[in-house]
Structure formats: C-alpha cells, structure tokens
Amino acid sequence: MTVTDADLQEAFEAVIGRDQRVEPRDWMPDGYRKTMIRQIAQHAHSEIIGMQPEGAWITRSPSLRRKAILLAKVQDEAGHGMYLYSAAETLGADRADLTVKLIDRRQKYSSIFNYPALTYADVGVIGWLVDGAAICNQVPLCRSSFGPYARAMIRICKEESFHQRQGYELLVTMMAGTDEQRAMVQDAVDRWWWPSLMMFGPPDEDSPNTAQSMAWGIKRHTNDELRQRFVDMTVPQAEALGVTLPDEALRWNPERQGYDFATPDWEEFKRVVAGHGPCNSERLARRRAAWEDGAWVREAATAHAAKRRDHRGPGR
C-alpha cells in the first residue's frame, strides 16, 4: 500500500479536527510548517529583544527589592526566548541561523519593543499593559495545534502572571507617592496605551491570514476579539490605579457589553514594524553586538569541550 499526499493531508486534518496536537515528526503541509517556524521564531525574537527596554533600568533600580524583581523578570524573557527557539528547532529550524536572520533584519520581532522605556514608571507600565496584552494573546496559544509550541506557551503563561503583577504593584506604589511620581505613571500610560492596542494586529478585515490560521488551530481568536478583551479587562484596572487611559472615545457600551474605543494609528504601526520606530536600530545593534561579542565564548567553550573529550580518550 502506498501512502499518497491526499492520505497524509487527510490524516493531518483529522488530527486538527479532533483538536489533538500535531507533533514534530508528523507529516504536515508545507504551509503549516513554514507558518509555525515563522510564528515561533518571530515570537522568540520578540522575547529576546523584549529584554532590552526594561533591561536598561536594572542598574538604576530604586531599591534592591525592585532590582531583584526586574532582574528575575528580564531573565524570564530570555528563558521564554529559549523555550521558543527550542520549539522552532523541532521543525528543522536552526537556532543560530534564526538569530542571524534576526540581526540581518530578514525576520522581525514585535513592534512594541521599538518604543523607549524613558522612566522607571515605564517598567511598571510595560509589566501591566504590554505583558497584560501578551497574556491575552498567549493564553489561547496554550491550545495551539502544534504540540511543542503549546507546551512552551503553558510554561510562559505561568511566568507572565508574575510579570504583570509586579508591574501593577510597582505602579500602585508610585501612585501612593508624590505628585511627580503620579505624573510619571500617567505619562508612561499615555505613551504605552496605543502601542499596546497595536500588539493585537490590524483590524480583522485587514488580516487575510486569520482564516487559514484559525482552520489550522494555530490562532483561536481574531485580532479584534482579543483587543476588545484586553480593553475590557484593563479599564477597571486603570480606574483602580487612578490613571486616565488616553482615549476620549473610551466608554462603556451597554448594548455590546463592552467598551467602545478609538482606532489605533495604523500608519504609525506600519512605520514602526518596517523599521522606522524610535528604537529599531538601537535594538538590533545591541542584539548584533551581544551575538558578535559572544562569539569567542562559544568558540572557546567548544574548544575546551573537544580537548576534554580527547583527554578522556575513546569511549569517554
């Protein structure tokens, strides 16, 4: 009996149809494999680049407590990147090759990390809004049809909750401080609110890949559904904090049982993703420097391991 492509396609679709997971060595359509590599790689890049905006504040933390927290958070982002590169490699991608594609600008990362973190209040707002938006995106991805990605996302989601809560607690502390501190928080909220809403991607009518991704079980909700969910979750948190979200159109709509809000500036979004945001060059230059400056360590460790293998002789 010969197995035809149609049989394989049918078996693949049956797995998706039963809401089971596709595992790395299963047959999968070429488009599915490419989409998963792209999605996981660019997600990994986002985690790695995502260390930078807050990482710059580690040495300037206001207290040892805040420093330990921020250090742990930034280390988590590195860990998230590693979980994801590991998942991408199960599809035949090569980790070093993915890093080179990132620093050569052939693969991208999320636009949100091209905005600067100007004050320590930004550390809090990034945790609250940016990680809050990431949680909205990531919780449904725990049910992605691709097994290794779904498992990595479960791990990541457990840790994101710490990220969001430390950010919100930091902001509560600042709001109980001086007028100047409260103004810093409001300023950071004003700057991060719209970029956070853009994290969910273009409106559904401009998102041509959504239907295929939903059919493959690698996207569970549309961009607009997730954006609405984020706004509805965040408004009461903003009220409790005592900050104003910078949108005059924001109001409760009892008919829809959700908040109405204005449209993000999609032209700005396109500029930032295309490489013309405030920090694109700086972020990539930093990543490239870390990669190139670390080359001698990678080579030295390889040489050391080879030498020790030789000393032990054959069969250890």
Binding site: S46, G50, G79, S86, D97, M198, N209, T210, F269, V273
Partner: protein
C-alpha cells in the same frame, strides 16, 4: 507587506519572511541536548525541551537556568539529541499493531458475575 497578529507579542510581518531551515549554515553552533526533569520525588523524568551546549556538563547547567528557575525540578537528565532513536510516525500503525488486536490483555475483556466482590 502583510501583518498578522501571531505569536505572543502580536503583530509582526508575515509576508516575505524566510523560514527555510539552514542547519549548519552559520558555522559551529553547540550541539543540541534534550532535557528531562523530575519535578519531585516519586515522579518520572519528563521531557521539557532542549538546550545547546558545548558538552553534557554545560548542558546540565544551561538546563537548570532555562527550565528550573522556580523549583520545577529535583533532578535533571540531558542527552545529546543525536543519540535518541525514535519510532517513526509513518510506521505508527504497523509498529504498534501487534498490541492493537490483543484485547484480551485488558481486564475489561473478561465478564465476571456482578455479585463477585473485590474484582
């Protein structure tokens, strides 16, 4: 350019992004090790992911840093990915079929009178 919200931090370009796998194209990356963790005493080691490292000893350290930042483990195994031999998904049916037709290996195969206790 097409943008899609995919991945945890949302919208990224999706058109014209290369996804070709090019192993070995970038010189000498460290070998890949699979990581298994015993989360607590009494449980098996379970596969959690992989790390790159120059040797097994460094792989253990990397695995600790990446996979056990919150007391997730009391013991770690690492094994070079190249040393794992796996059954092939294409042969799944013939490979496992010897067990599929032996229903008499399961306790439910046997009917026992309802009034027999403890069985």
């Amino acid at each position: 350019m097409t943008y899609t919200s995919e991945g945890g931090h949302g919208a990224v370009p999706t058109a014209g992004v290369p996804t070709g796998a090019a192993p070995g194209a970038v010189g000498t990356d460290w070998p890949l090790y699979e990581v298994f963790i015993r989360s607590k005493r009494g449980l098996n080691h379970v596969h959690v992911g992989s790390v790159h490292a120059p040797d097994a000893e460094m792989a253990l350290r990397h695995a600790r840093d990446v996979y056990t930042r919150r007391n997730e483990g009391v013991s770690i195994w690492v094994v070079a990915s190249a040393d794992i031999t796996a059954s092939s998904p294409e042969e799944k049916d013939p490979f496992f079929s010897p067990s599929a037709d032996k229903v008499y290996r399961h306790p439910t195969f046997y009917s026992i009178p309802d009034d027999v206790p403890h069985m």
